[in-house]
């Protein structure tokens, strides 16, 4: 479709200009942008904490930060990045923006609730910021009792309440998405015509709806114990701190799938578009998302192998943790098969996809190492674990988020960013990331424990490499912020469909109308109908 040249087309951005029209908007697209602003702020904040951590670890002695300040730094890095970046990034920013467009709806099912989710999220974030300004928290993002309930003298209450509140944003978003996908699809948009991103979001919403309430009640119990002296996990009364760990990980392990499933959905969209081939094995990819969501609930105790759980349950949880690798492998193989004999189009989003595939593979396979009981005892609480989950959460989830952001940016803003700089950023992030976290696998294997601000001098070379990598990574993350902002004013006009992609979101103008489509589309075929012949479009 050629974009019609209209003087000033009405878009969701320019149809109203006041600040209140943004703060009281019920438009899913504007709410997506509001999330983008808060999530980006949180990402920058978490990045500053990470920078301080890596600076401290450049030398073996604790010369920059005291042990206590260091504890607060890694805690606040974890809290900010997990609850305010990784969990909301793809679903709340990209999902909010493109999901109704992709299914041919005017909006999500509950637009007011959607706005409320953003406010709840932002209020929770403010609580956390206030607790940081007042001195921060030092329990680790896992808030393990009894340290969090009795020992710690930091702001556990405020942060706990902040995360508790934020949880409701996640619950409401998940609920809203599930109802929207069930009830708001355009005529003819059957389940098996849905884009795979929607399947991923649906599976994610399932985890949000079933898992988040459990972390909410767990944090509430912690807050009641700390604030009102209830004794649910108190070992002095015969309470069980390990129960807290079970409840915590019952949410927080599935939360890993909240973080990784939506980026996996993004990968499916982008890889099809930029290899000009339909995703190989559509229904396998779709169902593997659901399988990950379901299996993800049955593996939490692999975080507790050394916490004193029975060897029999450890055995079963180890087995189930191996099993959850299967649907992830199904996806990875299917993406690779999609590339096979495709016409690869080297654009920025595709660069991030390749980054994702490599890093997620390493992160996933090292996860299998950690699922093995014997090896896990050696590696528990070492830098091996730190490296493993950063490969999944940053190498996987953030790479996927960036792929999606670069893919849908023209749709969101109507402007193209600088593709060369985009590729450079993808390259810098890939190289910087591997340099940062690659050495940490070795450090962990050699026995360097996590969460200490000092270490023996023989670990210094690898730590310096890691810190050097982190500075490259930082450049890689700042660069997109610059060219994205630049593109808002000076970027080339994108047109409705700059990637010649298939899927409903590309059939409407960029930026879309306030109500998405001029008329409700009627769908007659699946989301992917690519052909290699039409590649030369740029």
């Amino acid at each position: 479709m050629q974009t019609m040249v209209v003087e000033k087309p009405v878009t969701y951005i320019n149809h109203a200009h006041t600040v209140m029209s943004w703060l009281l908007t019920k438009d899913h697209k504007r709410i997506g942008i509001l999330y983008l602003i808060v999530v980006s702020t949180a990402f920058a904040l978490g990045g500053i904490f990470a920078t301080l951590i890596r600076m401290e670890l450049t030398t073996p002695a604790g010369d920059l930060l005291s042990a206590d300040v260091y504890n607060r730094m890694f805690t606040m890095h974890g809290v900010t990045m997990v609850f305010f970046v990784l969990v909301p990034a793809v679903p709340a920013v990209l999902g909010n923006f493109v999901m109704p467009l992709m299914i041919g709806a005017k909006d999500v099912a509950f637009p007011k609730l959607n706005l409320l989710s953003w406010y709840v999220f932002t209020i929770g974030f403010c609580f956390t910021i206030v607790s940081m300004v007042m001195g921060g928290v030092d329990t680790g993002w896992t808030f393990y009792t009894p340290y969090s309930s009795q020992g710690s003298e930091s702001n556990v209450l405020l942060t706990g309440v902040g995360v508790f509140i934020t949880g409701f944003s996640s619950i409401l978003t998940g609920l809203n998405f599930m109802v929207t996908i069930h009830r708001m699809r355009a005529p003819g948009m059957t389940w098996f015509r849905l884009p795979l991103f929607i399947w991923a979001l649906y599976s994610t919403s399932l985890v949000m709806v079933l898992g988040t309430p459990v972390i909410a009640i767990t944090l509430l119990m912690l807050v009641l114990e700390r604030g009102l002296h209830l004794g649910i996990f108190d070992p002095r009364l015969g309470g069980d701190p390990v129960l807290f760990q079970h409840l915590f990980w019952f949410y927080s392990h599935p939360a890993v799938y909240i973080m990784i499933l939506p980026p996996m959905g993004v990968i499916s969209e982008v890889i099809a578009c930029f290899s000009r081939k339909n995703v190989f094995g559509y229904s396998f990819v779709a169902f593997s998302s659901l399988a990950i969501a379901v299996f993800g609930f049955l593996v939490w105790a692999h975080h507790l192998f050394v916490a004193g759980i029975s060897p029999y349950s450890a055995l079963i949880f180890s087995f189930l943790s191996f099993a959850v690798a299967i649907p992830s492998a199904v996806k990875t193989f299917n993406w690779t098969a999609t590339l096979y004999k495709g016409a690869i189009w080297w654009k920025t989003p595709m660069m991030f996809v390749f980054g994702f595939l490599g890093l997620f593979l390493v992160g996933g396979l090292t996860g299998v190492f950690l699922a093995s009981l014997g090896l896990d005892i050696h590696l528990t609480d070492t830098y091996f674990v730190v490296a493993h989950f950063h490969y999944i959460m940053v190498g996987g989830a953030i790479m996927g988020y960036f792929a999606g952001l670069h893919y849908w940016w023209p749709k969101m803003t109507g402007r193209m960013y600088n593709d060369t700089l985009g590729k450079l950023a993808a390259l810098l992030i890939f190289v910087g990331f591997n340099l940062t976290f690659g050495p940490q696998f070795i450090l962990g294997y050699l026995g360097m424990p996590r969460r200490y601000h000092v270490y023996p001098p023989e670990f210094q070379v690898l730590n310096v490499l890691s810190s050097a990598g982190a500075s490259i990574l930082a450049v890689g993350y700042v660069l997109p912020a610059l060219y994205f902002l630049y593109s808002l004013k000076f970027g080339a006009i994108a047109g409705a469909n700059p990637w010649k992609a298939t899927g409903l979101e590309w059939t409407t103008q960029s930026p879309p109308l306030p109500e998405n489509f001029p008329t409700t589309p009627i769908v007659t075929e699946g989301a992917y109908h690519y052909s290699k012949r039409e590649i030369k479009v740029a």
Partner: protein, 231 residues
């Protein structure tokens, strides 16, 4: 237009324009189905929410059965039983309110809703006196907790869970009370009709859920020890 999409006729024809129909829905039926599904999903999250506490309850009950019996004996089974009857009664009046809204009887809807709220308030007042007694007997967990005998620490865990479970439940009652007062105001302004009464139905679902939680809490907390006397 790319392949796969053709334009649908404009669905904003002026003939159907119920005031309650929100703009992004095609018709009232779609809106009703979406709202109902949303409410059921919300109740699923509530089940998981209470589930965490009930898990903790179950674990410690297996570990400390004696303390559970001793703690349970301290609860007033008559007040608890009375409250159970009150809540079951409120579920009946709530169901009748939904029925009245469905059949288009706004006055009856308001009446049944007010009665439901009165039952809810009765429950909360009784709960208040139960809590007050616990404070006076030093059965509230914390530095002032006092309970005779070697099981004292475990009984404190029992009372921690008692207050957490009933407290969170009471909070749900208070939210439900506020919700019903909004619905009752809407009903008094004749906002509902047999064609559209979704909010009454959703409030009803919520209210019944909160009742059902109590139907679980009452035996778990008050009746858990009664078999102990029989054996």
């Amino acid at each position: 237009m790319p392949d796969g999409t053709i334009a649908a006729p404009d669905e904003h024809a002026p003939h159907q324009h119920h005031p309650a129909l929100q703009h992004h829905f095609q018709d009232l039926e779609q809106q009703h189905e979406a709202s109902t599904l949303g409410m059921w999903l919300f109740l699923v999250t509530e089940v998981m929410f209470f589930g965490g506490l009930i898990l903790a309850y179950s674990l410690y009950r297996i570990w400390y059965p004696v303390a559970w019996a001793l703690g349970s004996e301290e609860l007033n089974i008559y007040l608890g039983g009375f409250n159970t009857a009150v809540l079951i009664g409120s579920s009946l009046t709530m169901a009748l309110a939904v029925r009245s809204a469905q059949t288009g009887a706004p006055k009856a809807t308001v009446r049944w809703l007010l009665l439901t709220m009165a039952f809810g308030l009765t429950f909360l007042v009784v709960k208040f006196f139960e809590y007050k007694e616990k404070f006076e007997l030093h059965h509230v967990p914390g530095p002032n907790f006092h309970f005779e005998g070697p099981e004292s620490p475990h009984v404190q865990i029992f009372f921690s869970l008692y207050f957490a479970l009933t407290g969170v439940h009471a909070l749900h009652m208070i939210i439900g009370f506020g919700l019903l007062s909004v619905i009752a105001t809407m009903a008094a302004r004749k906002r509902f009709s047999p064609e559209w009464y979704t909010p009454v139905e959703l409030a009803g679902l919520y209210w019944h859920f909160v009742d059902i939680v109590w139907i679980f809490l009452f035996p778990l907390l008050y009746l858990v020890d009664r078999s102990h006397h029989i054996i």
